[in-house]
Symmetry: C2
Subunit: 156 residues, 2 copies
Amino acid sequence: MISNLTMIEGVKTVALNEFADERGAVLHMLRNDDLDFIQFGECYFSEVLPGAIKAWKLNHNKTQNIAVPVGRIRMVIYDERAESRTKGNLDILELGRPDVYLRVQIPQGLWYGFSCIGNTPALLVNCADLPHNPTESERKSVFDPSIPYDWQIQNK
Amino acid sequence: MISNLTMIEGVKTVALNEFADERGAVLHMLRNDDLDFIQFGECYFSEVLPGAIKAWKLNHNKTQNIAVPVGRIRMVIYDERAESRTKGNLDILELGRPDVYLRVQIPQGLWYGFSCIGNTPALLVNCADLPHNPTESERKSVFDPSIPYDWQIQNK
């Protein structure tokens, strides 16, 4: 089921299934018959160590499909799109099992970043619709004042 | 680079890139322009707790593309295919970062299983070419005598 619980137009969250047993859980991520599946470009992982922040990034052409199977992540998304009805809004999502095991779809044109908010390393998985291409992304520093979110305060 | 270091015809291993920094590593998994990419069916995760064994499974139609971004896994593959030149062979692979961070491609028709051989939970990621379909797979118990591999001895 796709829900639109976020404050930014185009960002989608989908609750993912977890099938736990005593050996360890099987965890859904993305299927080619999911309603929000576009196409497969690349799957990669981003490990985030406790307290670390990876921000900010914007993809001009690529849609991200992100889940967090290990650890706890705070994901922040900022809408700076000139034509957007939700311009200026922030989404602040806390992602992790077992209570917030979601797939988050971030369309092109949005700033996003994430930090590990647990005491153990987290793993973020992205199944993007295009493979990595450094010419289609932009970056800003973690503390760039043009984005109204202060990672330092939020990570205290 | 695709290498054929295994003892079973059709099983492929590809060394994957890790880009480490002080925040945590970015880890490659699969791109749609990789030489061994077929198509995207489903991405899912299998958590394996220390000492746990998940075996045996065979997919009649599906090709698995597996990597282990977290923890340490022993993967065992058995070739029982009637027409195979490597019938009767076993592949025993130890997978995990940073030294054995590989993508393993297991074609249809092979038995496979895995166990966590570290002291912390491991995470296996599978980007298969078809979505899960329970009618195309078979299972055998971990200790089925028809497969010449003894998980109990190997896990002591």
